[in-house]
């Protein structure tokens, strides 16, 4: 019988969006990625010479502040996972800087560290993987799995490790007695809790979550999202959250970076990005999300064409062959990422002149209201005061 999940020990209710206040941007950023590049060579020919380059990550820059959740979002092949892996040095970047502020305040460039120097950095930086079935060793019990990072870092006392593992299991909502069981006894959601516990063993300050909830069922996904948000607040963590699902990204992040063919095309606060996107690609992504309301059956707008080949991207803006607003300059000049509004960065030549559609103000009227049989959605309730009202919508007086 699969073990049960204990409820979280009296989790603080998560207050409504602390976006504006929860993140301290006055301090130096915890992580600053500058001009990160990762190029994979294509070998070919008789001598296996390099005949081309796949520019998986091509000049990516962003910052993550203390207590902030930054999401990297984009379609498959856009380089979001490669970026995350370069940050934690699971793979070596081709060039660029990954500046990480250590607990003692020193800033180190993770991209330049040698292998031996990385180990102390990994105390502060941990990763959660997508597949909870592939990322746990079936021949180790939870004590060994969750305690292993401590062992690697030199904690040899078994009792110390057991105490810490029990504490961590409690933290992620599993019973401490489970520490002697093996991963096969747990369901997908519980395994993801184990993966999260292992990532938290060394009290990291930055957690890199690569599609952490994508492989989970919807009812379990909500539990893990709640857990991630709750842990972030309790332990004052920062997340670099890699995902492709815009609904989840919208739910969890303070700021979002949209990637397309190895480049960041738009980077902004979540609300601004979703309600007033400045890049045509962001707007197209938002338009493609199916609205979970049968009364709002709009024509679904896909994007024509295919994602550009990162080994042979088109000249100019990589998005121009699919962009409905492309003009002559887009075909020749690659647009730089520039700040068009405070905290709103866009790589588009026409960012100022375009007015693009974001998500509509649909709100919680979509939520089923079982207490009112036959209830039909009414006018949306007035926007909560801390959510900026998009300019397109008339404010009821």
């Amino acid at each position: 019988m699969a073990p049960e999940t204990t409820p979280l020990p009296a989790a603080r209710p998560i207050a409504r969006s602390a976006d504006a206040t929860g993140v301290d941007e006055s301090r130096a950023p915890l992580l600053e990625v500058r001009n990160l590049r990762k190029h994979f060579p294509i070998k070919g020919g008789f001598l296996q010479r390099t005949v081309g380059l796949v520019k998986a990550v091509d000049d990516v820059s962003f910052k993550v502040f203390d207590g902030e959740i930054l999401s990297l979002v984009g379609e498959s092949g856009c380089g979001k996972t490669t970026t995350a892996r370069c940050v934690i040095r699971a793979i070596d970047p081709t060039s660029g800087e990954v500046l990480f502020r250590r607990a003692d305040g020193d800033v180190v460039d993770v991209a330049k560290l040698r292998d031996k120097q990385l180990r102390p950095i990994w105390r502060d930086m941990q990763m959660i993987f997508q597949d909870p079935f592939g990322s746990l060793n079936p021949r180790k019990n939870l004590l060994d799995i969750i305690g292993e990072p401590m062992f690697v870092q030199g904690v040899r006392s078994r009792q110390k490790r057991m105490d810490r593992v029990a504490e961590l299991l409690n933290l992620v909502g599993l019973r401490p007695e489970y520490m002697h069981r093996y991963p096969h006894a747990f369901s997908g959601g519980q395994r993801q809790r184990i993966v999260i516990a292992r990532a938290l063993t060394l009290e990291p300050r930055l957690v890199i979550a690569d599609e952490a909830v994508s492989a989970l069922d919807v009812s379990v996904q909500a539990q893990i999202l709640n857990l991630l948000l709750d842990l972030q607040r309790r332990l004052e963590l920062s997340y670099l959250f890699v995902a492709h699902d815009l609904s989840i990204v919208k739910h969890i992040s303070h700021r979002v970076a949209v990637m397309y063919v190895g480049k960041v095309v738009e980077l902004a606060r979540t609300d601004a990005l979703f309600t007033r996107p400045k890049h045509p690609y962001t707007s197209a992504l938002l338009a493609a999300v199916p609205v979970p309301d049968p009364d709002q059956r709009a024509a679904l707008q896909g994007l024509p064409g295919e994602v550009a080949n990162p080994a042979a991207p088109p000249p100019g803006c990589y998005f121009h062959p699919r962009c409905p607003f492309a003009v002559e300059v887009c075909k020749h000049e690659p647009p730089p990422l520039r700040e068009v509004e405070p905290d709103h960065f866009v790589a588009c030549h026409r960012a100022e002149e375009l007015t693009l559609d974001g998500i509509g103000e649909l709100e919680s009227a979509l939520r089923p209201r079982p207490d009112v049989p036959g209830a039909t959605p009414e006018a949306p309730p007035p926007a909560p005061p801390d959510v900026p009202t998009p300019p397109s919508r008339e404010v009821p007086s």
């Binding site: 699969a2 999940t5 369901s187 009812s219 379990v220 909500a222 999300v289 024509a299």
Partner: protein
């Protein structure tokens, strides 16, 4: 320069009501598909009933292990050992021309699974759009040859005619330069084009019912929007019924007319898409709808969750399969008897003791 696929004209699509659609062409009644193994019996599908009317889009929604794929594979008789249909009927009525009486009426559950009859119906009357377009085409044959093969299996015609038909179908699903793509191998196509090729193949024999197993799960969101729009347009033009499986409530809301909610091999609730979304009656449906974040809902708040996880298939709870996770479970009732699917006249039958007191006849077995 690659030609871009033509996106079908943007149109909004209304929800169809069952009353306009006539007699069902597919009626599944009390279907049970079990897998008997050494460790025990997995009751993957355990008493499932639903109807499909002509030209209707039925969406089956549920989490992993709820038996939605096995139910559809049972309809197509594609269940492999150790799986077996142990009870129930799958009534298929091939519609006659111009609304005449059905010209064929038979119970698919009784046909020999390898017989000639079911092979004619599978692909001809009921076609499948599988989940993994990469795994569904042979990499050794061109997609054109594979579509021609499918056509000629069901309709004796010359290779040249079948080829013309196949190219016409490829063009219809928005494949750019179909004459060239006819000679392409599946691995030369992108995910979206491969999915279009699969849809062209499924449509090639003008099926009365299209069965789609998670048709958009493996593709990106912008391509998903194109494929959904394509399915809507094709459905309107051909009038085929579509039965599709998904776990994405957004896809359900955008495509389905009628929704079947499954959990652990049983139907919890079914009804018109609007009723399911706005007035869900089963606690599971309600919880499912509330636990999904949406781009429109408030960010960074605690999501309502369903407690616990999906039980192991070998350890099904007794009584209502949802009762261990149900916030409204009534001890002594829900954990003892299995609720039957009862329609109280609202057109939204529900299997829950909160709404009626009818138990399944053979429960406790």
């Amino acid at each position: 320069m690659q030609q871009t696929p033509t996106v079908p004209e943007a149109r909004a699509f209304a929800v169809r009501s069952r009353t306009d659609l006539g007699e069902p062409i597919l009626s599944v009644r009390g279907l049970k598909t079990h897998f008997v193994m050494d460790e025990g019996t997995v009751r993957a599908v355990d008493g499932v009933s639903f109807d499909v009317h002509p030209g209707e889009v039925v969406g089956i929604v549920g989490e992993s292990g709820c038996g939605k794929s096995v139910a559809l594979k049972s309809v197509l008789r594609l269940i492999q050992k150790p799986g077996r249909i142990v009870a129930g009927e799958i009534m298929y009525r091939r519609p006659g021309r111009n609304g005449a009486r059905p010209e064929l009426e038979l119970d698919l559950a009784t046909l020999p699974p390898l017989g000639r009859r079911i092979r004619q119906i599978r692909g001809g009357d009921i076609a499948l759009i599988p989940q993994e377009p990469m795994a569904s085409f042979s990499p050794l044959h061109t997609i054109g040859d594979q579509i021609v093969e499918a056509i000629r299996l069901h309709d004796p015609m010359s290779v040249a005619d079948a080829r013309k038909l196949a190219i016409a179908k490829l063009r219809e699903v928005g494949m750019p330069s179909p004459e060239q793509r006819f000679r392409a191998y599946s691995w030369q196509l992108s995910g979206g084009l491969r999915q279009r090729a699969i849809i062209a193949m499924a449509l090639s024999c003008n099926p009365a019912i299209l069965v789609a197993d998670e048709p958009t799960t493996a593709i990106d969101v912008t391509t998903q929007a194109q494929v959904l729009q394509l399915l809507r347009v094709l459905q309107q033009e051909h009038g085929s019924a579509i039965v599709f499986i998904t776990h994405d409530l957004g896809v359900i809301a955008q495509l389905a007319d009628h929704v079947v909610v499954m959990y652990l091999g049983r139907v919890m609730e079914q009804g018109p898409v609007r009723s399911i979304f706005h007035t869900p009656r089963h606690p599971y449906t309600r919880a499912l709808l509330q636990s999904v974040p949406s781009v429109h809902s408030e960010a960074r708040v605690q999501l309502p969750t369903i407690a616990g996880g999906i039980p192991h298939p070998l350890y099904r709870p007794p009584g209502c399969p949802f009762h261990p996770r149900c916030p409204d479970a009534m001890p002594g009732t829900c954990d003892v008897r299995v609720p039957a699917m009862v329609d109280d006249g609202s057109g939204q039958p529900v299997a829950c003791f909160l709404h009626h007191d009818v138990a399944e006849a053979d429960d406790g077995a």
